[in-house]
């Protein structure tokens, strides 16, 4: 299926025409009851026009040629209508176009019955194996985007993104009688059929989850303040995304983020190298492969930090024009009715050479942070993320579990304090990034040892 832009559209200035299909499914089973069993399918056609320094955008749920004609016309009218705010010089948007198709060919999708049967079996297995759980919550889902794009720069492309996830949450009763919960999340590129959530695969992970939950039931409050912390690999990915990723998005930089004045300067220790990968990492396709962005720009890796030095930002065509650099292919739109914004793709801190066990052994008094729930960034690079599983480290050995807490700090200070980077890696693509629109992204990283603030008493 191809997408034909009306021939007159190119005459309006820079323009894009996009047809976008989005399908999502989600099931949630709470204690054996299927409380959510939903499929969503939406689609539509959108157009965006850059004319005389202003943008116009329009979208419709229809996907016919007539719909394309209609939204293209409307987008042009909208750009024209912005002239009421006065004449304005237009930026010369970077050239570059992409022609090609990238569609992930995974396994055949699972039948609904099989998914329900597997959820029921998983629930029964958890009930039988883990006595004393107050509740078990299981969530599975997948999400599939297909985008046909035609641009006035000559781009013609079809790009797809698919991801799947499985979450298992155990709830127990803490020593004080209050509920204590912990979640294990698996994610992958593709459909649920591509995700290994078999009992055989999950069993060791859930045994570990249950052991941690029992420890958390006896957890103590963290000591608030600045500490040496070892961030397990899943947290380093979050650090990459939240702490330095957002302040390296060029629209945030143009908005005055402190990173804007730090190009070429040291923002991390020499052990820290961080990228926003377009589509391929160490020879393998990433979880969220972006070969072409939603402006038709051929996507390339953005090397944000190399050896601790801030090197470049993630750009759309317009931010690249404003900053006088090349576009990196980071302009992405979430839904069929959304316009492209500067967004991350696969943000990663590269692994180092130290074993995680040695990193823990080297801490006299600190914390091992193992699981995170969510995070937020700031233009100051001050970040926070929720910590749902962590342990004390005392004299190089793990101690008591600590209650839910929050990690925060200035990303630059934290990255500058990194004195060890582990030799292993963890990737995930289960969450959403929020910035006017949601977005599917992946994040990855090794374990890091650094100094940061923990919330607590």
């Amino acid at each position: 299926m191809s997408l034909q832009a009306p021939p007159w559209l190119a005459g309006l200035g820079y323009s894009e025409l996009r047809r976008h299909e989005l399908r999502k499914s989600r099931m949630m089973m709470v204690d054996g009851s299927l409380t959510q069993n939903t499929r969503v399918s939406e689609g539509g056609t959108s157009a965006r026009v850059y004319r005389d320094g202003y943008w116009g955008f329009a979208s419709t749920p229809a996907t016919s040629a007539a719909a394309a004609e209609k939204v293209a016309h409307r987008a042009g009218q909208n750009a024209q209508a912005m002239s009421r705010f006065g004449a304005r010089a237009a930026y010369s948007l970077p050239e570059g176009h992409y022609r090609g198709e990238h569609v992930f060919r995974g396994k055949s999708t699972l039948a609904q019955q099989e998914i329900v049967d597997r959820l029921s079996a998983l629930h029964a297995w958890c009930q039988q194996r883990y006595q004393g759980l107050k509740s078990t919550r299981l969530v599975v889902g997948d999400e599939h985007h297909s985008k046909w794009l035609s641009t006035s720069h000559g781009g013609e492309s079809l790009a797809s993104i698919q991801r799947a996830l499985c979450q298992v949450t155990f709830i127990a009763e803490g020593a004080d009688g209050a509920p204590v919960e912990l979640t294990e999340t698996l994610s992958c590129k593709g459909h649920l059929a591509d995700l290994d959530w078999s009992l055989e695969s999950l069993a060791p992970r859930l045994d570990e989850l249950h052991t941690h939950l029992m420890a958390k039931c006896q957890a103590v409050a963290a000591e608030g303040g600045l500490h040496t912390v070892v961030l397990a690999p899943p947290l380093a990915g979050m650090l990459a995304h939240e702490a330095m990723g957002h302040p390296c998005e060029a629209d945030i930089v143009l908005g005055g983020a402190v990173t804007g004045g730090l190009l070429g300067q040291r923002v991390g220790s020499e052990l820290v190298t961080m990228l926003d990968v377009a589509h391929t990492f160490e020879g393998a396709e990433t979880m969220i492969p972006v070969y072409v962005d939603d402006e038709g720009t051929p996507a390339r890796d953005a090397v944000l930090i190399r050896g601790g030095l801030l090197t470049e930002f993630m750009n759309s065509r317009e931010t690249a024009a404003r900053l006088g650099v090349t576009a990196t292919g980071n302009a992405r739109a979430y839904a069929p009715s959304d316009e492209p914004l500067v967004r991350m793709r696969n943000t990663v801190i590269l692994p180092g050479t130290t074993a995680l066990s040695d990193m823990i052994a080297g801490v006299d008094n600190g914390y091992l942070l193992m699981k995170t729930a969510n995070g937020q960034a700031d233009s100051t690079t001050e970040f926070m993320f929720g910590i749902s599983l962590a342990y004390e480290i005392r004299s190089g050995r793990l101690g008591r579990a600590i209650r839910d807490t929050t990690l925060s700090g200035s990303a630059i200070k934290v990255l500058q304090s990194v004195d060890a980077v582990s030799d292993d890696m963890h990737w995930s693509c289960s969450g959403y990034c929020g910035k006017k629109q949601p977005m599917v992204v992946s994040m990855g990283g090794p374990a890091l040892r650094a100094r940061a603030h923990l919330g607590g008493q």
Binding site: V116, A178, P179, E382, M384, S408, G456
Partner: protein
């Protein structure tokens, strides 16, 4: 035939196809929406965006088994295909006697302006940019919007429910940070919905002007030099975090899983006597119907600190045996107090005025710790420097009980009408 007749026809047709497909009970809702949005980027008007959306939402029950789907394509082939898939999905779901559709609900609601006034939207953008340039020149509005949205909905169930709604509303948002040379504040945001925007200048809506002024004073910040236990005066945006946690505790997932702290507390004092909380589902921007097909009446949740009800949906109610209390997605107000917000701040011995809480998901037991953003140190009742890298920790259930005062001023964002709250016993670090 007007648009609404068309929506009703689509819902009726879908329901008929579901019945003929073999569903025992079904719900079909059709909605159509349109948005006109003017965008500000980096202190300049940047984009005009027009979107149209259409959605058919179907819920089918078969022998106590349930499945749901949403689709954007409303042609016969697409709908019939979706119904066939829905039937298979329902057939494979486990039986659950708690599944049901609404019965006998009847409502017809029209509220708010049906058509966008693009000139008004442009005026609001211009007013906001002029205010920024003249009153708060340090501010960079990274993203701002002025928009109008219209949504028409028609929902039918095999239980005889028919809910019809046509609503329109305006919305404004401003998001940005302040800058002076290389120094920068944290970002801040203000937003809200209203039936009209013409009666006041743009900065006077939803606390936008106050947000721009406060943020302009947060370029120079400092961290705390030591830990202490103190008080906070939470601004309305920070109060929203407490409200969100409480509502989650009273709703289906927490009630069904047993993780709610309040499951057995109805009729008991769970908060300070100065706290009152009730619904305001009738405001523009709040959907007047629930997703499971009910037109909620008004709900009083807390009176003088006493919990009056839990909030299970139809499913949660049937699953737990608790009385069903339909609530909309948003639309809550906290009763005002008698003291001014200035008085609240003046009575703080040591603590902070908290503009925004940046925190992870609070634990099920209410434990939380978070970074306080857009916040000022308060010592001996005097507002001092803006803060950075400061965290507070505590327990939200405890905070509701430790509430010391409620301000008489409130900010109305449409979906919420919230005061400032003074609360003690927080750990600062």
């Amino acid at each position: 035939m007007d648009d609404h007749t068309s929506l009703r026809d689509s819902a009726e047709q879908a329901l008929a196809w579901m019945k003929s497909a073999g569903f025992d009970h079904a719900q079909a809702g059709v909605s159509q929406s349109a948005m006109t949005e003017l965008n500000i980027t980096l202190n300049e008007p940047s984009l005009m965006r027009s979107t149209e959306l259409r959605k058919l939402s179907l819920v089918g029950l078969l022998d106590g088994r349930r499945a749901a789907t949403e689709l954007g394509a409303l042609d016969e082939a697409s709908v019939r295909e979706a119904i066939a898939q829905l039937f298979m999905a329902a057939r494979s779901a486990p039986q659950d006697a708690a599944n049901a559709v609404s019965c006998g609900q009847q409502a017809q609601i029209e509220r708010g302006p049906a058509e966008a006034d693009a000139g008004l939207l442009a005026d609001k953008v211009a007013e906001l940019l002029q205010f920024r340039a003249q009153e708060t020149p340090r501010m960079m509005i990274e993203e701002g919007t002025a928009s109008h949205q219209r949504q028409d909905t028609h929902l039918l169930t095999t239980g005889g429910s028919e809910l019809r709604c046509r609503r329109g509303w305006y919305e404004m948002t401003a998001f940005g940070s302040a800058h002076e040379g290389a120094r920068t504040s944290s970002f801040n945001v203000a937003a809200g919905t209203s039936a009209e925007l013409a009666s006041r200048p743009a900065p006077d809506w939803f606390g936008i002007g106050d947000m721009l002024r406060d943020t302009s004073q947060q370029v120079d910040t400092r961290p705390l030099d030591r830990k202490f236990v103190g008080e906070v005066v939470l601004t309305p945006p920070a109060v929203e975090d407490l409200l969100g946690w409480l509502l989650g505790q009273l709703s289906d997932t927490a009630l069904i899983s047993g993780s709610s702290l309040y499951r057995e507390r109805v009729g008991q004092i769970v908060a300070a006597p100065s706290l009152g909380l009730r619904s305001r589902f009738e405001v523009p921007g709040v959907a007047p119907f629930t997703a499971d097909g009910f037109a909620p009446g008004s709900v009083e949740l807390l009176r003088d600190g006493r919990l009056l009800t839990l909030l299970p949906r139809l499913y949660g109610s049937r699953r737990t045996g608790l009385p069903h209390v339909p609530v909309a997605e948003g639309g809550w107000e906290i009763s005002p107090g008698e003291r001014s917000r200035g008085d609240l701040v003046a009575s703080v011995a040591r603590g902070a005025v908290v503009g925004r809480l940046s925190m992870g998901m609070p634990a099920a037991n209410g434990d939380f710790s978070g970074v306080i953003k857009n916040s000022f140190l308060v010592e001996s009742g005097v507002v001092g420097t803006a803060l950075s890298e400061v965290m507070i920790s505590g327990n939200i259930a405890r905070m509701l009980q430790d509430l010391r005062a409620v301000s008489r001023e409130r900010i109305d964002t449409g979906a919420t009408l919230l005061p400032w709250l003074q609360i003690g016993g927080l750990h600062f670090s």
